[in-house]
């Protein structure tokens, strides 16, 4: 079974700070890591390959050349091959253009399954995984928390929903996005790290994947970010302090009535 894992390199912080003047992310002094949700996708891909006992796992990422470090990290935990999609034509892509670019690259590869993290911790859109499935016209299962059965023909997986677990049988090939409950990613091994350091990373350009440059990058993005801002901290508020709880409640109701909220 050949599995493709789409990963993204993100700044190592869940509290991304924004420069209020330029409305861009402040990346100074922030390390880059593999998007944490993607690490679960990588681990699951390696586990499926180990379980099936055949095939290979390939990680693929779109981004600038420095994304190579994220790909090498993936290679150190059991991934077989890595592909970097890097081209100026890819720059400025929104989730539509990003998923289209990845889907276009995926069409040039052989695979039985595509795995993604449920979302990236920087953008938090959760759109690229499903977008890839749509562009490839493949079935998609999002928020997968367990792979019960899997073969080249079909898979039975569990989806983690807010109100319970949904069990889905799906035809392959398919696209899954995974949640962190699916596994505990392994640490790299020394041999894995050494292999990753020496591994060759294949770089593909827009021309290599035969992408239409009008449909990708900034040009191919139907949405654009006009403004990013940190919402102002809420201020004010009034503490009602009385001796007893009934007194507090009585005064609270009074206030709410006064404000015509009750």
């Amino acid at each position: 079974m050949n599995i493709l894992v789409c990963i993204k390199q993100v700044p190592d912080t869940t509290e991304v700070r924004i420069n209020p003047e330029t409305n861009t992310l402040i990346r100074d002094g922030v390390d880059s890591i593999i998007n944490p949700f993607d690490t679960y996708a990588i681990e699951e891909a390696v586990r499926i390959r180990e379980r099936v006992g055949a095939g290979k796992v390939t990680v693929i990422s779109m981004g600038p050349p420095q994304v190579e470090s994220a790909l090498r990290e993936a290679l150190s935990v059991g991934v077989d091959e890595a592909i970097l999609l890097s081209d100026r034509a890819f720059a400025g892509a929104d989730t539509w253009a990003t998923s289209l670019t990845l889907a276009t690259a995926l069409k040039t590869l052989e695979f039985d399954l595509v795995l993604c993290g449920k979302q990236a911790i920087d953008g938090d859109t959760a759109q690229v995984g499903p977008g890839i499935a749509c562009h490839l016209d493949l079935p998609q299962v999002c928020y997968v928390s367990k792979v019960r059965e899997i073969s080249k023909e079909k898979a039975v997986v569990e989806r983690m929903m807010e109100d319970g677990t949904e069990v889905v049988e799906v035809q392959m090939p398919a696209v899954f996005t995974v949640v962190k409950d699916i596994n505990e990613p392994r640490l790299p091994s020394l041999k894995g790290k050494m292999k990753a350091k020496k591994a060759e990373i294949k770089t593909l350009s827009a021309a290599d994947i035969k992408a239409n440059v009008e449909e990708i990058g900034l040009k191919g993005s139907p949405t654009s970010v006009n403004k990013i801002f940190s919402p102002p901290r809420r201020s004010g508020g009034e503490m009602l302090e009385y001796e007893t709880a009934p007194e507090v409640a009585k005064n609270l109701v009074g206030k709410l009535k006064e404000m015509q909220l009750f």
């Binding site: 640490l187 790299p188 091994s189 020394l190 050494m194």
Partner: protein, 388 residues
């Protein structure tokens, strides 16, 4: 960071060991210390990481790459930064495996070192109630009977005792010859007549298992004898030559952690309206800690490299690296508790554990007094050899 010019492979070992310390060891160290619990769950982590093979030849499934002792020291330092007790599952195995590395036949190495490289725990058993610093006082005996030796006696304070699968055990094959009558045997865990006794309740390194080993008519195949009968003492001495920088590295890891925590705490703790690190008196304490630690590191790495190069007996230098680094660790951790003040004395904060853990490094694998004897002996010998 001072650049010690590590190889790419060594940098990876350091990174991986540091990652394990951070993600797997730090979160559990206080609990394992409190409960005095052996880190069973972490053995698989060590095994899968490949770090257990860093001091074992590539031919036996390891990744020593010609620098076994330097690799061992680098990994021991990082894991000990996380927890010196947990680190003994790694470092105690190295000590247990060294007699096989030093005196083993090709067959013995193939059979046992590959298992250690894969993560099986080993242990080194020389100490007895009446034989500590004076290894000549060993009372455990080994008597040849047909194609096996029969071992009788009791070992004491054996690191990884009861947890290890492979033991290198020292016993007398000829008591009339004193230390020259000692021999070393490989004993497997499930050998009939061999059992582990009570687990000791210790001041520090509490996540490490320290037990008695009891041999009652324990029959060990003669092929498990390491080297020749009577060569055990030499095997033990050569083992200590190679292992003592590892104890230095353990002490170094403890001290480094103590300094990092002290600097961090001194920046956060405010008294009299300013962080306590603004006081010059405290700054000088931290500066002294840093100097001593870096000097330890430089000495340990230099000695480890000297051992790997094979350039002459390293006995005195190994003794120096262990003694200097352990004395530094003791001083630095006592000072770290002082930096933390009342909080430092409380178990809720991590520095009192570092102080408890540091103490053993001045005692085991030869007390620091025995080490100073070794150093002085080398000085006298060298001076005497110059006299015509």
């Amino acid at each position: 960071m001072l650049d010690y010019i590590l190889t790419e492979e060594q940098k990876m070992m350091v990174d991986l060991a540091a990652q394990i310390a951070e993600e797997k060891i730090r979160p559990v160290r206080a609990e394992l210390d409190e409960k005095q619990e052996f880190p069973h769950d972490l053995l698989a982590v060590f095994a899968e990481s490949g770090l257990c093979g860093v001091y074992i030849d590539d031919a036996y499934g390891g990744m020593a790459g010609g620098t076994p002792i330097m690799n061992m020291v680098l990994v021991a330092e990082q894991i000990s930064k996380g927890c010196a007790g947990i680190a003994l599952a790694f470092a105690g195995s190295a000590l247990g495996a060294l007699p096989i590395i030093i005196s083993g036949t090709e067959e013995q190495k193939k059979k046992y070192l590959s298992r250690v490289a894969e993560g099986e725990i080993a242990a080194f058993a020389i100490t007895e109630p009446n034989a500590g610093s004076d290894a000549g006082g060993i009372q455990t005996t080994a008597v040849l009977d047909g194609d096996s030796y029969i071992l009788n006696g009791t070992k004491q304070w054996i690191t990884n005792g009861g947890e290890a699968g492979i033991y290198t055990v020292f016993a007398m094959t000829d008591r009339s010859k004193g230390a020259r009558g000692a021999s070393c045997f490989i004993v497997e865990k499930d050998t009939p007549g061999f059992s582990a006794g009570k687990k000791e309740d210790k001041l520090g390194i509490r996540a490490s298992a320290t037990r008695e080993l009891i041999f009652q008519d324990c029959r060990v195949p003669a092929e498990n004898l390491l080297g020749k009968p009577g060569s055990g003492f030499m095997t033990a001495m050569k083992t200590f030559d190679a292992s003592r920088p590892g104890i230095g590295a353990q002490a170094l890891g403890i001290a480094t952690e103590a300094l990092e925590l002290s600097v961090q705490y001194a920046r956060e703790r405010k008294q009299f309206g300013k962080p306590i690190i603004a006081n010059q008196g405290l700054q000088w304490m931290l500066a002294d800690m840093a100097m001593q630690i870096e000097a330890s590191r430089a000495l340990i790495y230099a000695v480890a490299r000297h051992i790997d190069s094979g350039a002459g007996r390293p006995t005195a230098y190994s003794a120096m690296s262990k003694t200097f680094a352990s004395d530094v660790a003791m001083k630095v951790t006592v000072d770290a508790v002082q930096v933390f003040g009342g909080y430092g004395y409380m178990k809720e904060y991590p520095v009192e554990k570092l102080m408890r853990d540091a103490k053993i490094t001045q005692i085991y694998e030869g007390t620091n007094q025995i080490q100073r004897d070794e150093i002085a002996r080398a000085l006298i010998k060298e001076a005497a050899s110059k006299k015509k």
